[in-house]
Each structure stands twice: as C-alpha cells, then as structure tokens.
C-alpha cells in the first residue's frame, strides 16, 4: 500500500471517528475506559493532543484517588490493565501538554503501579491473563524511564526489572508466550508482550538481556502468520496486534527487509478487511469502534515506519528517549 493511500484512509477513518465522538469521549459522558484509551492513542498519533486538552483533563478527572482507573468511567474499583493504558496516554501526551494536572495524574499512576506489583514481579487483573496484564505496566514504566528524569528512576527501575523478569521467565522454548487460561494459542499474548514490554528494554540503558527473547518472539510471530496475511483465523484484532508488534521489532532488531513481505501482506489484509466506515472484529461483521481505533493506529504506525527517520516508529510507542521533559521540575524528587 502506498503512502498516499494510507494518508487518504487515515483522513477518512479519522473523520468517521470524529462523527461518533459522543460514543467514545469522556467529555460527552460516562464511557468504557478501554475505548477511551484506544481513541486517545489515535488523537496522540495524529498529532492532535495539544488541541484535545479537554479530552486529557477529562481522563485526569476520571482517575481514582489510588491512581488507577475503572473499566467503566463510573466504576469505583481500579483495574490494572486499563489503568496502564490510560496512564500511557497521559504520560505520552504530557510531553506536548506540559500541564500540571496531567503531571500530577501521571505521578498518581506511578504510585498505583508501584503499590500494586506482586513480589514475583507480576501485576494482576481478573479480566486478563497475568502475562498480558504485566506487559502493560512494564510498558508504562518503559515510557517513564525513557521520558522521565534521572532523579525519579530508582523505584521505577526496580519494579520495571521485576516485571520484565516475570515476562522473560514466561516465554516458551518455541519463542511464544502462552496463557493457559486466557490465550492458549499465544498469538495476542506474544504480540502484546513483544511490543509492550520486552522490545522496549533494548532502547533503555541497564536493561536485561532481551535480544534473544525478542528475536525468538519475532520469529514466532512471523511463523504464525496465515497465507492470506492475517493471524489467528482472520482475527482483525490479533492481526493488528501482530502487525504493530512486527513494525516495532523489525525496526529495533534491524530486520526491516526480513519482515517487509509479512508486513505488506498483513497491511493489505487489514485494509481489505475494513468496512465502508471502520473495522470489524472479523471480516464481514459490523464495525467495532475499538477496532477502528486499532486500525487507525496501525496505519499511523505504518506511516511512521516508512519515514526516513528510523526512530519515528519507535516514538509511536513512546520508547525513544529524548525530546521535551515529561515532568515539571517540582516533581522530580518524588520517586
């Protein structure tokens, strides 16, 4: 798919997403927080964070006093998986927003994840497998370490290493991560873990030796692609996960050329699976807004992958160090 076509699709799909703004925005009322976080990622990657400050302030307002978020904005109990997704959206937007309320919320979420980690390094969430759940706070801490300031790093680094070690210990001999309870097929779990957790430590100093795990994970994902370019029996969600994971892995392991044929087939399949407006869970089904946000995110990451700056796609995960400081000076000494 050429870049002009990708740009056209991004424009038309983003226009569709904005026509259904009341269905995903906290500024319009109570929402499903996973959908909110998915939409906020599109806002961020489209470069619209600064003009969308009310969306971020509404996300701050929905945060619980313990620093987490509920699965629904009206739910009182915090849940780890969605909290990590929301925290990631805030910390990454803060590089642009530089807003004191957003910064306070990021600190509260750091406290939430430091307090909630189990002694063996995992985080738990009753709706997700432990490996998948753990990958998200680790991903959040990747970004905290990549974007944060030196003075805050000790406690976060220790928790991050424990989480990463838990993930590395969970990898199977064949390179995949399997969750016997939630994901025996391993497709989504492997894609999440490689992009959310393991791969990022390659970019951070003092990381664990993750390159062999990443290479095995990349091989596992490539080997499990179906002939038509999809993964997991034409599963749009899992194909998007594997595609994004491969975009990041290929760049960080300098395996672009090796992964290019698989990526091109996957992207063609994803585009062909689209409805007139939005993406379904499986080809031919009705549009799902969360999947539509995922589809937009894939196309935006493909655009970044094809830019001449090799780090541009890595920035779409927030893992590239440098740039503007995320935290204001007053908060530097807290952790």
């Amino acid at each position: 798919m050429d870049l002009d076509k990708a740009a056209g699709l991004i424009e038309s799909e983003a226009r569709f997403l904005w026509t259904v703004h009341p269905q995903w925005s906290l500024t319009a009322g109570p929402q499903d927080m996973e959908l909110v976080a998915h939409a906020m990622r599109v806002i961020l990657h489209m470069g619209k964070a600064a003009e969308s400050l009310p969306e971020y302030l509404a996300l701050v307002k929905a945060q619980h006093p313990d620093g987490g978020w509920g699965r629904e904005s009206t739910e009182k109990e915090s849940a780890a998986w969605v909290s990590a997704f929301c925290a990631l959206m805030l910390i990454r937007a803060q590089t642009l927003l530089q807003h004191p309320e957003v910064e306070k919320a990021v600190w509260r979420s750091i406290d939430y994840f430091l307090a909630g980690q189990k002694p063996d390094g995992r985080w738990v969430d009753s709706e997700w497998g432990d490996l998948d759940t753990t990958s998200h706070p680790v991903s959040f801490f990747n970004v905290v370490l990549a974007l944060g300031t030196p003075k805050m790093k000790e406690a976060v680094r220790a928790a991050w290493r424990r989480g990463l070690r838990f993930i590395l210990q969970g990898q199977s001999e064949d390179g995949g991560w399997y969750d016997p309870v939630f994901q025996p097929s391993g497709v989504e779990t492997t894609a999440h873990l490689v992009q959310d957790a393991v791969i990022a430590s390659l970019a951070l100093p003092e990381g664990l030796p993750v390159r062999p795990a990443c290479e095995k994970g990349m091989n596992w994902i490539l080997e499990h692609q179906d002939a038509d370019g999809s993964w997991d029996e034409k599963n749009v969600d899992h194909t998007m996960d594997c595609t994004r994971s491969t975009l990041l892995i290929s760049r960080m392991l300098r395996a672009d050329e090796r992964c290019r044929p698989a990526l091109e087939k996957a992207i063609d399949w994803i585009v062909a699976s689209k409805n007139r407006e939005g993406w379904p869970d499986f080809p031919g089904m009705e549009t799902n807004l969360e999947r539509t946000c995922d589809g937009l995110d894939v196309l935006l990451k493909v655009q970044a992958w094809r830019q001449t700056d090799p780090l541009e796609v890595v920035r779409r995960w927030g893992y590239a160090p440098g740039g503007q400081p995320t935290f204001l000076r007053a908060a530097e000494v807290r952790v």
Partner: protein
C-alpha cells in the same frame, strides 16, 4: 437456519427476538448461547470449541473460547469458566421440519 447447514464441528449465528445467538454443533449435539462476550463483546460464534476442566468440579466440560481475549464459556450453561459471576444466556435449540428453532 437449516439443520443441514450446521454440521458437526461447525458454528453459526442467528438473530432471535433481536438477540444474537451463537449456535454450535459439537459431535452432533446442538448448543445455543448468547453471541456476545460480556468482556469486550467478542463474537462467540467465531470462537474455538475446547474440552476443559470445570474449575469447580475438575470434570471435563465443553466450552467456547472468545476469539478476542480468551474468556471461556461452558456451552451447556453459559457460565464463564475464566471469570466467576460472568456468563452469557443459554437458549434451547430444537429441530423442527429440518429447521433449527431457538427459544428461551
């Protein structure tokens, strides 16, 4: 839906009284449950059938795994095996004049 169109090992989707119902033929036995997973609305008729241990009794039971995030639902009862207290509705399914009939 015609009985003949749902062969052993296959699944299908029908709408009954405005509700999506997932149909499964497991070795000749028919099951009908609500199609949408209560987690993220994954379409259960696209899920894989598995024989798994019942977490309460340990005995083997037949379940469908949601294709999106892997929640398991016992076909006979609609009970979620991966998250206590969650579940999907169960419907009766009968065969009349070669047609599958779904009811409460």
């Amino acid at each position: 839906m015609e009985v003949e169109s749902l062969k052993p090992g296959e699944s299908g989707l029908v709408v009954a009284d405005g509700q999506e119902v997932a149909l499964f033929n497991v070795e000749g036995r028919l099951y009908a449950i609500g199609n949408r997973c209560p987690h993220r609305s994954g379409p259960l008729f696209r899920g894989r059938i598995e024989t798994v241990p019942d977490p309460e009794t340990g005995s083997a039971t037949t379940a469908v795994r949601c294709p999106i995030h892997g929640w398991l639902f016992e076909l006979a009862t609609g009970r979620c095996l991966t998250r206590p207290r969650a579940g999907v509705p169960v419907y009766s399914v009968t065969c009349q004049d070669g047609e599958l009939c779904v009811g409460k």
